[in-house]
Structure formats: structure tokens, C-alpha cells
Assembly symmetry: D2
Homo-oligomer: 484 residues x 4
């Protein structure tokens, strides 16, 4: 797969407000609750009396918005905010969203969460007819399609554009006329609607962000839906009728906040259920259950409940950001790595530990955790993973590395156990994952996308198909279901 393709993969957080005089302050507040969805950069566009104004930068929200004026300059009756995920390369300021387009007669701000599978071919076709792109992200494609649409109305142009892009996306678009929200036909990426008690409508990535600003949850935006929020009110229309619910399962496994609900399912409780099913499918002869803080504490609780083994706090996570410099010795390098997590010797010493983690990507973290517990005196470490083995990359917006780097794509469970130094290793089955979340019993995979585990991508992969097939062929994996 070409290097520049990987750069496009990203996960992000969106937050938009229409019709409240404190839109910029509300958006700033709401984005803080979505900070876990992106730490590379942040930006807010405010609809001020002087038109759309933007403040943005690289880094955390607290690094980008450093003084009250940064926010008051955006004050007005609507705002659109974005936090962006840290990808390996390409920390370009130009890519920080919302993108702001200044036309001669109007301006528009665009924010995107997800990844388009045909962005590269669309971009090439557009450039061949003179289009100039200013970012390396795929978000900009939508604006070019919109501006070139022959449709006579704005929502007509937007519908046109939405039908040409494929993959996983939640889009928010702000103009002087309204705030427009759209979700891909599979609903890969979540997007919810809320109302503010003192007036105004909110659209954002997670319900936790509604709670954070005191907004009331109204509903999830549905696959293939285009919502227009203007001074007239909130109207909706499907931009396509060919939809199937397949929410990204990684949102439930580790990405979303435990206090969020996606299509009616609370994330914490889904994780507790995964832990319970994991205890049934992969029991362990352990004295205590320890979860990896903070993402795996829910699953660990479920595991403890279902197994009857006591839950304890055997690992402590530092609350402070550490700035790591190059360490002079190997011992210090290892020390620096584990600085974020440390073991409580008094808890684990002499114990057989069931260690619950949400997933294994490259395996490096898991290896350190096993060693950490053993160094602290654990008699045995039984590693239990509350999701199935990750064997396939994601093209819908989660930055999961190429198969070459996925431990489970290259090793059997037994090999992984030995490499990680665990006394035993067990994963949750895909079926149990689907039943634990249970989004929609009538939909394929009960409404989840489980492609990372099974290779069954719910849509064609367009620009990514050839590269993926080559990669899988090298790994001798045959996945008949992979589309082209």
C-alpha cells in the first residue's frame, strides 16, 4: 500500500452548534470531552457577525486555545469544532480541521471523521480537470465535488457529492445559512443530535459530549442521512436509500468513552458484557482479575463478575503527560516506556493474575505489561483479550496499521502467548463480541463492522482493494469475502 494512503487514515471528533449565542464556548467545552478521539490538532470555526472565523493549530485543545481571545474572536450564533488524531507522519498544519473555504461570495467550513475509500481516484480525476487541493487529507474531495455539482440547490449539490464519496464518514459543514450533517451509508462513524436547554441544536461524535455541555440527547443520525439545521429548524432527508448498519466495532472495544451511547447501547455496559462473555469462553485459573487502565477496566469488571475471581487494582496509570527524551541507557529506556503504567507489588506479588486488555495491535504494550506484572512478583499472568484477534486493516477511519504490523495477522495464538511471555492467552470470539454489543439483532453481524477480525468488509474497498489483496496474498490469507 503506498505510504501516502496510510496518512489519510484517521479517527477524529466533531462538534457543531447552530442557534446559540455561546456557540464557540459550547463547542470548546464539548471538544474537550472528545479529546480522546484526536490529539494531533484542533480547530474551531465560529459564525461571527463578520462571517466565518477560524482558530486552529497542532496539539491538544489546551495547547491550541491558550487565551480567552482565541475563543471570543469566534463568538457568534454557530460554531464547528474538530479534534484530529495523531497519525505517524504528516503533522501538517494545513490538514488541521475544520477546513475553511473562503469563496468570493460566501464561506464554508468542513469537518470530517472517517476515511474515504475512493478519495485518491476522485482526487486524481478532479486534478486532471484543474482542481487544486491544499491539504493531503481526503476531506477536501467533498468540497470540490460539491462546488462542481450542477444541482441547483445547496443540499442538492451536497447530495450529489455525498453519493460520489465512499467509505466511512461523518461530515459536518457550516455555512452562514446552516449546519449540515451527514453519515455514510453504513453508519461506520457515530454522530448524534442534541438540543440545548437555552436554545440551539448540537451535532457531535459522542453522547458524552452532549452531557458535557448540558445538551439533551435527541437521536443518532442514521446511515445515509443528511440533516440540515437552519434558522427554520431541523430537517432531514436520506441522500441514499441503500444503507446497512455496520458501526465500527472498535468504537465499542476501545475508542469511545464509557459514558457514551451509540445507537442506544452504552459503551461501558457493552464492555462489561464482553468481559463476562470472555470469562465464559476463556476462563483462567487466577487469584485476581486486573484490567489495563483505563480502557479495559469495564471488561475486567465483567470478567470478575462472571468468573467470581476478585477484581483488584494491580496496575496504576499516571495522570500526567510525560515528555520523553532519548534515554542514555537501555534500562532507562525501558523505565521511560513503562512510566505511564506501573504495577502495585503489594497486590500482585505471589498471585496468579488474569490480565484483561481490550485488544492486541502490535503486541509491544502487552509484552511490557506481562513483564511489569512478573517483575512485581506475579506468579502467573493469564492474558485475556476482550475482542477477537485483529488481523485485517481498517479503511473506514481507524488508523490500524497495515497487516504487516498486526501481531495476530502474522502469528498463531500459541505463538503470540510465547512471544508475549504470558502463561496463557485467550481472545473473545467474533460471535460473542456481536452478541455483547447487540446493536441490531436483525442486521448482519448484529449491526457491527467486524472486518478487522474476519476480513468481511461491508463495502467495496476501491483504491485500497489491490494493495490489500497483494498484502493478504503474501500472508497466504484467502478471504473470499473481501470485495473489489
Amino acid at each position: 500500500m503506498p505510504a501516502e494512503l496510510k496518512e489519510l487514515n484517521e479517527e477524529c471528533g466533531l462538534f457543531g452548534v447552530w442557534g446559540n449565542p455561546h456557540s464557540a464556548a459550547i463547542t470548546h467545552l464539548g471538544l474537550h470531552t472528545l479529546q480522546h478521539r484526536g490529539q494531533e490538532g484542533a480547530g474551531i470555526v465560529g459564525l461571527t457577525p463578520n462571517g466565518l472565523r477560524r482558530h486552529y493549530g497542532l496539539g491538544l485543545l489546551s495547547e491550541v486555545f491558550t487565551k480567552p481571545e482565541d475563543l471570543t474572536a469566534l463568538s457568534g450564533r454557530a460554531a464547528l469544532g474538530h479534534v484530529r488524531y495523531a497519525t505517524a507522519g504528516g503533522r501538517l498544519l494545513e490538514n488541521i480541521q475544520p477546513l475553511l473555504f473562503r469563496f468570493s461570495t460566501e464561506a464554508m467550513a468542513l469537518a470530517h471523521n472517517g476515511n474515504l475509500t475512493n478519495a485518491l481516484s476522485l482526487r486524481k480525476a478532479l486534478e486532471d480537470t484543474g482542481a487544486i487541493f491544499h491539504t493531503t487529507s481526503d476531506t477536501e474531495v467533498l468540497m470540490h465535488l460539491l462546488r462542481r455539482s450542477p444541482a441547483s440547490t445547496f443540499t442538492g449539490q451536497l447530495t450529489d457529492a455525498l453519493n460520489q464519496v465512499h467509505g466511512g464518514f461523518a461530515f459536518l459543514l457550516l455555512t452562514e445559512k446552516g449546519l449540515f450533517a451527514a453519515v455514510d451509508p453504513n453508519g461506520f462513524r457515530p454522530l448524534v443530535l442534541g438540543t440545548l436547554p437555552d436554545g440551539g441544536t448540537v451535532v457531535c461524535s459522542e453522547t458524552a459530549a452532549l452531557d458535557a455541555v448540558g445538551a439533551d440527547f435527541v437521536r443518532d443520525i442514521q446511515p445515509g442521512e443528511l440533516v440540515s439545521i437552519t434558522d427554520v429548524g431541523v430537517t432531514t432527508q436520506p441522500y441514499t436509500l441503500q444503507t446497512t448498519l455496520s458501526v465500527c466495532s472498535m468504537e465499542f472495544i476501545y475508542f469511545a468513552r464509557p459514558d457514551s451511547e451509540i445507537h442506544g447501547v452504552n459503551v461501558h455496559q457493552a464492555r462489561v458484557a464482553m468481559g463476562e462473555r470472555l470469562a465464559q469462553e476463556q476462563p483462567a485459573d487466577a487469584d485476581i482479575v486486573v484490567g489495563v487502565p483505563n480502557s479495559s477496566l469495564s471488561a475486567a469488571l465483567g470478567y470478575a463478575r462472571a468468573s467470581g475471581i476478585p477484581y483488584d487494582l494491580g496496575l496504576v496509570k499516571s495522570q500526567y503527560v510525560a515528555r520523553t527524551f532519548i534515554q542514555p541507557t537501555q534500562a532507562l529506556r525501558e523505565a521511560a516506556v513503562k512510566r505511564k503504567l506501573s504495577a502495585v507489588r503489594a497486590v500482585v506479588e505471589g498471585k496468579s493474575v488474569a490480565l484483561i486488555d481490550d485488544s492486541i495491535v502490535r503486541g509491544t504494550t502487552s509484552m511490557q505489561l506481562v513483564r511489569l506484572l512478573k517483575n512485581a512478583g506475579a506468579k502467573a499472568v493469564h492474558l485475556r483479550i476482550a475482542s477477537p484477534p485483529l488481523r485485517f486493516p481498517c479503511f473506514y477511519g481507524i488508523d490500524i496499521q497495515s497487516t504487516h504490523e498486526l501481531m495476530a495477522a502474522n502469528h498463531t495464538v500459541r505463538e503470540m502467548r510465547d512471544l508475549l511471555g504470558a502463561d496463557s492467552l485467550g481472545f473473545l470470539s467474533t460471535k460473542a463480541l456481536e452478541e455483547s454489543v447487540n446493536l441490531d439483532p436483525t442486521a448482519p453481524h448484529r449491526g457491527l463492522c467486524v472486518a478487522y477480525f474476519t476480513g468481511e468488509y461491508p463495502t467495496p474497498l476501491y483504491d485500497y482493494a489491490d494493495a490489500l489483496h497483494k498484502e493478504l496474498a503474501q500472508l497466504h490469507i484467502t478471504v473470499s469475502e473481501v470485495s473489489a
Copy 2:
């Protein structure tokens, strides 16, 4: 009490290394683990081939040390680091430690954790004979006493000085000859000794910082002990024989890391024990037990275990630092305040919740937590505090506000329950606290200082005595035990 006295109250973290070529890097690493002990400022002094060199500043370690050169400039065979607690006023750069004293013929660095009860009168007496102070902290007093001592040896001068200061302290002093460590005669503030596998000795505030740098724990430094670490080795001598162990109980209640051990007692397990005793003393008719993250999770676990009520994650804490600006509306102000913690509606809705917190100072946070849970649908909130009511200020290094601001000094438990909006409220007894920690069964209060709860200060209060008596008289509290 005069305003300038309050400024002196502080809690801090210390980390020193002698005899390792990577002392500065190790100190930087170790201080990260002590960051919870102080976020106002940080500094490191390194013993370089060109003598003592210092880098320091206001803010978190990651804000003060921003590039590798900040650290490499301090490289040498010894180092001394300090993190300082954020007090209300007086964020003066001059106060950031270690203090570095450059004399014509030598240099010394001094770092301090604690609070001296006779600093003010010592300072006045010293100024009357021409001494010039350059900070507003009480740390500097020790150096003036040391320099004016007629003793013929350095440790003799230090012993002289240590016998003149009173209160709670752990001191680390670095010269070109050695690293010197001393603890007050009551051992209010912890200080531990360790060794590095590749050579060198470490002294620091908590054992967790030893673990973080791969050092082996040797022992706690004892009350009244002066340890000299030089190229000859580690020697010890008592600078006074009149000692009584009374470790600050707030270290166990909320201050120290759960993975640290103080005089042989693991902090997490002490907290679990407090929770268990709390369940016995203050049972609750609840469906679930919820702890306030992260400091009260251990006690909540203990409460759940002893009561048999299921433990659940009903509150979520944000991992990101939020920069708070002034919010335009009351609703947003409240939203901003609770941004750090949010309730998991799916967990608490319709439930009777036993909410476990470590302590109540002013009561503002507790009030918000009760409201947060009720807004999320909790049927009832039974607030259980894993420590006794805080009714008296601390003069040994914990920045507990004056009695005027301590909720429990001004209200009965029943009044507090009503003000906080809780359905019931219960505190741990002092006796149960002492037994839960059980530092030394033969010492008064089993080796703990419980003055904040009972007013029984284990030492005279010197400069603070008069003001405290006046304050207590206003509150109609008579504490015969309060010394003068």
C-alpha cells in the same frame, strides 16, 4: 492567621541521585512519578563537571523541561530534583526549588518537602542580624542557620541547623561532596532510600519513584535521621534522639500513589482496608458502589468487598488537562466545572448509589458529584467518606485551608448531608483509620498524625499557635490537646 503564613504551606516531591553518570536523566524520570505531589513548578540541579547547574520553571515537568538540552546541561554524577505544589497565591519563580546557593568557594542546592512551624520567628531573628532572604518560602531558613553555625564540620553545621527548625520536613541537600537527607523528628513527610542496579544511591519521596527508575528499595529514612551519601558510601546518624513516629495520615488517605509503600504499608491496601472498615461502620442500603476516580477507587473496592454490594464504574474521569476560560453563562460554568468527571447514566440510572470519596474539604466537589449522579438518574446517593471529618488545619506541609473553609469544622454531619444533597452521609472513625493503616501498633495513634481530625497536634505549633487558638475560639471549639 496572616495571609503570608498560608503561602508557606505546601506539599512537594523530592528526588536525588548520587554516584550515577545518568543522574539528571534518572532524576527527570523519577520526578514524573512524583508529579502528583506538586504541579506549580519543577527544577533539577545537576552536579556537572563545571559544578552545580540548575534548570527550573513554573508549571508541570513537561512544561519546564521542553528540550533534551535542558537535561543534558545538567549531566553529571549527581542530581537533585523537586516538584512543587500549586498554592493559591505566590507563584513566584524565585520560590521554585531546588534553591541553588552560589558561594564564593562552593555551591549548594537545597530542596524541601513540608512546612516549618517556627520559620517566621527564625526568619525575623536572622533578618535582625543582617540576613537577606530571597524567597518567601521557609526552606531558605535552613541554609542561613547552617551558614551561621559555629560547628567545625559540614554535618555538624547541618545538625545544628536541623535542631533549630521545627515542624514537618524532608530535606535533600546537594553539594560537590555529597547528597544529604534529613527527616523531621516525627517523620511527618516520607523519604526513602534505594540503590540503582548500575551504581548509585537514590533518595526520594515515594517508593513508586524508585520503581519507576528501576531502583531497589533499601529502607525508609527514620524520624530524626540524617543520612550522608558521599563517594565513601552511605552513613547515617541521628541528629536528635527525641523522636515519635507520626506520619501524615493524608498521605495514606489521598496524597501518595497507590503503588507506594510508606514504612512498610502499601497505600492501595491501606485504602482498601479503610473502605472495608467504612462498610462496617457506615453501611448503606445501595444497589451499587461507585468510587470517585482515581483516588477513591481503592476504598470503593474495599467497601464493595466488605458490603457485598456490586462495585461499578459510575463515574468517568477525563485524562486530558482542560484549559478553562471564563464561561459566558451559569450553565456553562457548571458544565466546565464538572468537565473532569462525568456520570455513566446507563450504570446509575434508577439505582441507589453508595458513593465513596476519600475526604471532604470544602464540600464543593462532593456537592457537584451528588448532583451529577442524581442528574444521571440515581434514585439515591449515599455518600461515604473513607476518612474522619477534617476539622483542623495542617501545619506540617499539607495545604489544608484554614478552619473557616473546612466544611466539617463549621457543620454537623447532618447539616453537611443536607448541604451536599446526599440521602445519607457517613465518615470513617479515627480509630478505624488508625487500625486500617496500622503503621506501628505501639506508637501513639499507631504511628499516624491525626491532628486534622482531632486537633491533637503531636508537636508544639510555635508561630501558628496563637492564630489557631483565636480561630478555634471563634468556632467555640475547645481542644485541650492543642499544644503551645
Copy 3:
């Protein structure tokens, strides 16, 4: 005239290198010498082994390039740099040049000095066919025209584009293949070619920048010329044959450095000549001649030489940038304003002073200078301006305010004298200006553009024509020569 039009007016400095391994360092050095041409922002694009890389920002070069890595990241065999003038509004980071365009298959950097008179209509036409602009500057128009050209070669496309834009411009365009330079058909803006002793070609705005990097001057780039610098060598071709030399006279009057030469005329000597002619046309009964530092010292020297009146240093200019805050009193506000210049009382006290300035725009500075000298004891101040009255705006790249703000467009010389508080006031004639510079005796106005003084714009004004006519009508000025 619409507000957004004014924003486009700007003066800038360009510097490009092709074929030297230290291109980025040379460009950085060269831009310092052009810093007077733009202080709003600066940027450099380097052709590195990994393609075009950019570093840019708001502020002075020393504020934008703050560490060696900023520059080494741009290292390679070619570079393009730009400094941008501070205009009233619109300090947008997006507008800082060189603009960097990343296409799927290649990348290009574009830098521009000047102002296009038909940018607005071109932009509207382009947007109507789907073009998306990312800056509010007119520079971007050229790239859109180039990308949409049907020509088969790159220089063919560039020629196409250059023939569609009108006004004043010097363009530098860097690709992986070469560095391309073009000047408008009137040569309003200077651009010169040089060679480096250790290899490589330089193109930049002023000869002083060639001197600064040790490059040898080759020649001025001619009106209507397109120069292509590639690994094959330097080739040239006219993109149009309809050319007339009319160099912006403000370059000679105050803008360019005294050590630069434009089309063979040294700027300092041209200014000395203006001063000499001014002495003949506008003699003064003065004891000493004082020039306004630093731009008017050359003209003052000429005035002194021709008049025989002694030249003296009656005004001192501060070398340091002052950061001005709002001053609490009127007296301090005035003091703050004059901080940059102060009078030498010992020189001017009791003297009749001939004060030589290069030009009068709004008149505020002149008024302060007259008052400054009188407060320092000058008996009389005879203000002599080494250029004709500025009565018309510039549309070719000098940010001269609209006629409403030009003092000479709204007042007679006698009125101006009274408003400024001078004892007498005299301007240089347009004819004398033209003869002092004497660029090309055979060209109209001897090769200068004198539109600011006479209203005789050497080209049609396109998008600006209507607004200018309306403005002039309000001022009851009829300028038959103004084109449309």
C-alpha cells in the same frame, strides 16, 4: 472601493536559488536583506531529497526561523523564499508565501511581489467553474490559470497564465524541475538575476540581496520576460512582446535599499539627485539641512550639497523595536509615538532647519517631526519633500491608502503647510523626479511609473477602475488619462 480589495495591495520581497547545495541557507541569508520589503510574514520552500518542504509563519524572519532545524529541514539543491508586507487587516497565516501546492503527482511553490488588477474578476470566473481558493491573496489565481491551461508544456501553460493576469508582478515558481521567474509587461516590480561563485543561479527582488550572499549580478529581468532556470541552464523567452518600462517610482523614492541598483541606477545616488533638484526647485532659508533617518538621509545630503547649507544630524532613530502598549495619558501616547525618532536639541536649538523627507502620505508623521524639532528649539522648520505630492492610489503593489487618506489628494500645498505646522513646504516636481532617476530617456516618463502623482496609470485598471473613478469624482478630480 470594497474593503477586501485593499487587502490585496502589498509589497514583498522574493529570493530564489537553483543549483546550490546550500540553497536554503543562502535564501535565508538573502531574505534578511529584503526584510524591509515585508515584515508581516516570511516563508521558505526548499527542494529537498524528499520533495518540496515549507517553513513559514507570521512575523519577522527572526521570529519565523527560530532554530537551526527550521532551516536544515529545507536543505536541498533549490529554494524559494518570500517576505510579506504588513497590511492593515488580514494577517492570515494562509496568505503567507511561498504558497505550496501539493498535487497527486508533483508539487509547486509560488511567490509573488505585486498586485494584479484583474484578480477579482478572474477569481470569480474561476470559482464559477468549480475552482476552490485557499487564500485571500491574488497570487493563487496564477496557479489556477496554469493548471487549467490546455497547453502541452509547462512553460506553455505558464505563458498562457501570465498573459491572462494584469497589473504589477514579479513571480517566482519552484518545481522539482526548475525555478521560473516572470515580470509584468511594465516591469513595475524589480527582479534581478545573479550567479553564485560556488555554483547556482539566484533570482531576487534587489541587487543588495545578491551582494549579501556573495552572488554576482548578471542582469535585470526585463518586462514581459519569462526566465526558466533548470539543470540544463538558464533560458529566456518573452511571454509577451507588448511591453513598456514603467518601474514603480516609489522603489526609488523610499522603498528599495540605498545599496541596490534597479535597471542600472543606484538608489542612493538617485535619491541624492532628487535632493539636489529639490534644492534648486524649492530652496529654503535655513541654517542646517536635516534628513529624516534613515530613508531620507540620501536626499538630505543632496539638498545640502546643492544648496551649500550644512548637513547635520538633527534627528536620531532608535535601532530597537519597541512594543507599544496603550498609554494611559495623552502625553505618554505622544511620547510613545515619537519614540522611534528624537531630536538633538544641541543641533537644532535656535536654528532654522530645512527638514528633508521622502514623501507625505497621511501627514501624521510629518506633523510630529515638525513639532519634535520645534519643541527642541528650532526657530523655523522648512519642510522639503523629495518627491511630488501623492494624490492617487497604487494598484501595482504598493500599499498606498485610498485617496481619502492621502493628504495631498485632499489639500493644497498651502493648506498642508498650515496643517503640518511647517514654516514653508515644497515638493519635487514630477519632471525633476523623472530626470533624477533617468532610467530610460526614450521611454514615457523616462521609464518610471508616476501614476501616484499624476493619475496617468500606464495600464488599464480593470477591477479597480470603477471604484477609482467614483472616488476621484467625489474629490472633483478629473484625470482624462485614467484608463478603463
Copy 4:
């Protein structure tokens, strides 16, 4: 001479206000005019309603005071400011002045311009009796002496202290009671008194700073004088009667602003006179006279006037601060060095140039200037220096390098001419210098200190005497007048 001694040498600027509600803003404004006296750091202490408050930092004023709050936090009825010179090593934040001393019952701010010759021995003696110093500058000595004085009044203590320090100094001391100013018994360093039209008294280093804030000049503070400015008024008293005027001649030669007057002599006019005498003593067969901008323009004007040779602007100085990185090639390194100054080829080509400079220290700059002019085509360069050869170090506050680095201490004039590449070289005589300034015809050397040229130090040198004698012995210089 020990390295740490050199660090103490410094030149600085002082500005204090008493009795004006805008004291901090006035001080900030006034310091800008003194910025040439120190660029290493800056600080202001304001007497606010909450006592003395300080803002200070490393760098230029514009880097230290970056936002209005920096200044408004210092608002009150008095203020004291300082700019500090950049010395080779030791850019310690602790050394930035005014020093602020916080005592238990009061606070004081102290600022100093000059250098004490017995600071080291005083410091050692003070430390031996327990004093703790917090800076490496000699300023702090005064405060220790003051605090240890047995005198019963504050001015009595100050008088005591002033009589114990020796060397060159102007001190400003701010307390809640008043502003106190003192000058050394020789008046080496200038200090002037002024009044503000809207109330209040100003004391500062140069009269130009009075002009800049609109204050009226009252008088120079005399050698051995102690001025007390309080709400009662301005009172004066001699702290010693043993005084001789010997103002540092470097103030007139290059240090002070041309628009300042010192003891009644305007600096610009003194420089013109030096240039005139230079023309008489050291005529040159030249076509034009060129001064090194900006410090030597006055002398060049004098040279031109007296010689009749035309004055021209053959050198241009950049107005912008350049940030210099390490240059990759020797050619670029040279280019970077000369970036501040460039030659005007059109002026100097084919000409014999009389180049006027104020002084030669190491000779590096002069060498570059000669080369610069020759590279620009100058036929000959006759270097004329408007001061005598610098052969002896200064111990009164000018950071003139040790004799080892003074070109004239190690070479004859003929050797210097050859090393510099000049066609001829001539210096002003000491006698002509004294007569050009002519401060006080009855005083030794007409009121100037000319020790740098003759070795006749007007005071004993205390701590510096031995080292200087050793140095001079190595150079085989016998100066009988050098005191001990």
C-alpha cells in the same frame, strides 16, 4: 584575572520615577530609550498598592514585556527599571535587575550601573560572617552592607554602605518610602534628574530618556552625591566629600546616545569635535568621507567639515535583527557576519575612502569593513579612529575585554594597519579627545577618565590590581601611574 571576575563587568541603563500615577508606563517608555545600554535583560519594579511587584526577564524589553498585563501589574506611584548589557557568559535570570529584596517587614528594589572594584573581597568577608548571596553580580553587596549597618536611619545606613564600596557606580534604590539615587565619587557613570510636567521626579542614565517621556531636565547628579526622593520632596547630601570628576570617556566615544547631554556637553557635538580634531591630527588623501553607521556618523561629519572632503553614505546598516545560525560554508559565514553592514558600490567604487570609526577593540569589525569597501571597488581605505588606541581594560563598568584581546595593547599602529588591510591608519590623541569633550577645564583630563588609553586609573583598583599588574608585565607595559 579569574574568569568569574570578567562576568561582573557590565554597562547598564537605569530609569526610576517617584510620585506619578503612571510610573510603570513611564519607566517602560523611558527604558526603551536606554535599550542601547543593555540588551541581555530587562526588569521593572513597580510600587503598587500591594507593595513592590516585579516583572523581569532575559532579552530585549520587547521580549520581556510582551503583553499589557506585564506592565499594569506594576501600576502605582513609583517604579524602577533596568536594562542589562549582554556579557559573554553568565546570562543568569537571577542576575537581571532591579534586584528585589523581600524582608519580613518591608521590601526594596535595587538597580546598578557600573562595576565595583572591591566587590569580591567585600563578598568574601560578608560570607565569612554568614551572608548568603543569590546573584553573581556585585550589586548585591550594597544591600548586605546596608542591612548590616549599625546606623539608626535608612540614609545613614545607605551612606555607610556607599562609603564601603569602590569603583564606578550609579545606584537607584526603591522602597515604599522613597527613591534613592547615588553616584560614585568620580562620576564615572552618568545619572540625571528630571521632573514630569504632570507631577513626579525622574532619575535616569541619560537625558535622552528624559526627553522620551516628556520630562524636563533638572541637573546631573554629582560625584559623591546621595539624592533622596520622597513624598516630602527631593533632598540631597554628599555621602563623601572626596570627589573628582572623571566621567567614562567611552560614554562620549560610542556608548551614549547622540541626543544625550552629560554634564552639559552634547554627545553628538562632542563627537563632531572629535572628528574635526581627527581631521587635523590625521589628515587623509581621500575622495569621500564615510562613517560607520550609526555610532560614527557624527565623527565622520566632523571629519568631512574640517577636511573639506565630501561626506557620503558609503555604508548601509540593516535595521532588522538577524538570527544567525551556523552557516554551512566559509563564504556564507563571512556573508552572515557582514549582513548588518553593506557597502554602496555606486558610492565607493574607484574612490579613495576616509573611513571613520569610533574605536578599535579586537579589530575584527574594522578588518571586515575595510574588506567590504575594497570588495565594493574602493581604490584605497584610509581608516581614521575618533579616539586613542584602547590599551587598558576598564574596571568601572565598561565590558572592555582583557588586554590580551585589545588589538592596540598587542600591536603598533603600523602592525594594526597591515593586519586590518587599510592603506593608512590614524588615531585621535588623548589630549585632543579631552579638549573635544572639554567637560571641566580645571579637572584632571578635563573631567574625563582616559585610563583605557593611558593606564592612569583615577582610583585604586583593589581586587583587580594584582591581576592587571601581572597581565601588563607579560605585555612588558610599565605604567607607573597604575595604582594599587
